[in-house]
């Protein structure tokens, strides 16, 4: 049924199509001018495909896709969806074919077995690589319901190796060393090499301030842990202490949010720099 509002939508859609067509033409003209029109020493302009035609076409394609991705700011549209799916497809294809085969399977497996330069190299490959290759192939049996159990041998090795190597290293690096860092300023303050006069400027800078920061870290850690400790009811002092934990959490979220905003703005700046310096070729 055609209503006046449907007509209005149709009209808007036609306007959008017209604007899109104009933008596409403008994009192509600007791309051609920026990438292929060059000014010579006499001030004459001439057309050249340059030394790197593939590079120029790549820049135009990348610029076009960048602008299409930003069209989402206006609203979700078919071009955005095409670009989005193109990205996923290209990334997947690149990962599977170029990376998995060219950078991993071919040099680490195929070349070692089938292009071994000497008999000794082949024997070495057989000795050190055949078991990992078989275990890797066994992982593919996960795809079959009937034979999927075979892959457990590979997973057992992966988990066993990962836990055996990983647990001591991560405990040492992420728990013990962090605990030590938490108390080191206190240790320095108590048994430090220098003992500045009490309440002097060096005492404030080298003893009091690090100890204060350490105390802040300790209070923050305990308060946040207490906030997530539900075995006892948070009443009176406990409630106040858990609110201190919330305060520390909020500061932490604020810092993370600030950094995240900075990161997202940096991505926009990166794209703007690409459009200005590589697509439009504006001198820096």
């Amino acid at each position: 049924m055609t209503t006046p509002q449907n007509k209005s939508n149709k009209k808007t859609s036609s306007v959008e199509m017209a604007v899109l067509a104009i933008l596409a033409v403008v994009f192509l003209v600007v791309s051609l001018l920026a990438q292929f029109i060059v000014k010579d020493a006499d001030g004459h302009y001439y057309f050249t495909t340059g030394a790197d035609l593939r590079g120029s076409l790549g820049v135009i394609l990348a610029a076009g896709l960048t602008l299409v991705m930003y069209s989402f700011l206006y609203r979700d549209n078919a071009l955005f969806k095409i670009a989005e799916n193109l990205y996923v497809g290209v990334a997947l294809g690149y990962m599977v074919i170029t990376i998995t085969w060219r950078e991993a399977l071919r040099p680490e497996v195929y070349d070692k077995f089938f292009n071994a330069p000497t008999w000794g190299a082949f024997r070495e490959a057989l000795l050190y690589r055949s078991v990992p290759v078989i275990l890797g192939v066994l992982l593919i049996t996960r795809l079959s319901r009937k034979h999927g159990w075979i892959s457990r041998y590979s997973y057992a090795l992966i988990i066993g190796y990962g836990a055996g190597v990983g647990i001591p290293l991560t405990t040492h690096s992420f728990i013990l060393k962090q605990l030590y860092a938490g108390v080191a300023p206190l240790q320095d303050a108590i048994v430090g090499k220098t003992s500045p006069a009490l309440f002097s400027w060096p005492w404030f800078a080298d003893v009091a301030y690090p100890v204060f920061l350490t105390a802040l870290v300790v209070v923050g850690t305990v308060a946040v842990l207490f906030y997530f400790f539900y075995s006892i009811e948070h009443k009176r002092t406990g409630r106040t202490f858990s609110q201190v934990g919330i305060f520390f959490l909020m500061v932490s979220f604020g810092a993370s949010f600030g950094y995240t905003v900075m990161g997202r703005v940096s991505l926009l700046i990166g794209r703007v720099q690409f459009l200005l310096y590589e697509w439009l070729k504006i001198p820096k």
Partner: protein, 284 residues
């Protein structure tokens, strides 16, 4: 069946105003250059000082663990670190655990080496003055292998030259021979380098991360498991200032500062509006 009346299309003007202002804040510094002063952070200085203290001919491992999605923040860091190595005569050895960034890493090195050559009137030759090892799968296990024998881990460099014969790697056998390792990470590889690398083999580790991941690195700075940190575009700009070179980091920081000012202004404005509504007794 009667169709539901279509809602007239609502255009949220405030959204468009914010988009427009952000767009202006990002673009304006590229049109009107305004120098926004900033002092390099002590975290960036820590990394700079560590590299500055090295002698000519020492080796620095640069792990470019990022892909094009994070290049806006991490690529300027990579360039600045390479320039610093070239200026000091230190040999940068570049590798990656992120295969999607492989071609980009190659481009960064191949563009920076001639650029450094022009800056300091020297020729920087691949294999002698810098080494690009490329990608190998394995992540954490591979770090352990590199710690045992680097040339077994990488029997060939990216250009298929045997690493045994590379003059740039003559004195290097394991990770312990690296005077500094810097991980430029878009993911969680810094933690892997800490646990499986620096804590186990005892080399100093620096980190460059995206702004989003930067807050997670501060505990490791405090425990001195990381000697210096470059966080996001700001970190790249800090390093360029310390190195006294121009680059995308410094250039981008102008736009970044403008956008931050705008966002702070918008947040304050929104809070003032909410506060006024609250005083007037409004529910919204």
């Amino acid at each position: 069946m009667s169709s539901l009346p279509l809602q007239p299309r609502r255009i949220d003007l405030s959204r468009w105003v914010i988009y427009g202002l952000v767009c202006l804040a990002v673009l304006l510094p590229y049109v009107i250059y305004v120098e926004m002063p900033f002092t390099p952070s002590k975290e960036a200085k820590g990394l700079y000082d560590q590299l500055e203290a090295l002698k000519k001919g020492d080796h620095v491992l640069l792990a470019f663990d990022f892909d094009p999605a994070s290049q806006a923040e991490l690529r300027p860091m990579g360039r600045a670190l390479l320039l610093h190595c070239f200026r000091k005569g230190v040999i940068p050895v570049v590798m990656t655990f992120w295969p999607n960034g492989l071609n980009m890493d190659k481009e960064i090195i191949e563009k920076t080496a001639p650029e450094a050559g022009k800056m300091w009137s020297r020729e920087f030759k691949n294999g002698r003055d810098y080494v690009f090892l490329g990608f190998r799968p394995g992540d954490t296990s591979f770090i352990l292998l590199m710690g045992e024998n680097l040339k077994t881990a990488f029997d060939k460099d990216y250009y298929q030259n045997p690493t045994q014969k590379l003059p740039g790697l003559t004195d290097v056998n394991t990770l312990k021979d690296m005077k500094l390792v810097v991980d430029l990470a878009a993911g969680a590889t810094v933690q892997a380098w800490i646990a499986w690398g620096s804590d186990r083999f005892g080399f100093p580790l620096g980190a460059g991360t995206t702004a989003v991941s930067a807050p997670d690195m501060y505990p490791f700075l405090q425990s001195r498991q990381v000697v210096g940190l470059l966080g996001g575009l700001r970190g790249a700009a800090d390093y360029e200032v310390l190195l006294n070179v121009n680059g995308d980091g410094r250039l981008g920081m102008q736009a970044q500062s403008f956008t931050h000012l705008l966002l702070v202004g918008l947040i304050l404005f929104a809070n003032v509006v909410v506060f006024i509504r609250w005083i007037r007794g409004g529910k919204d």
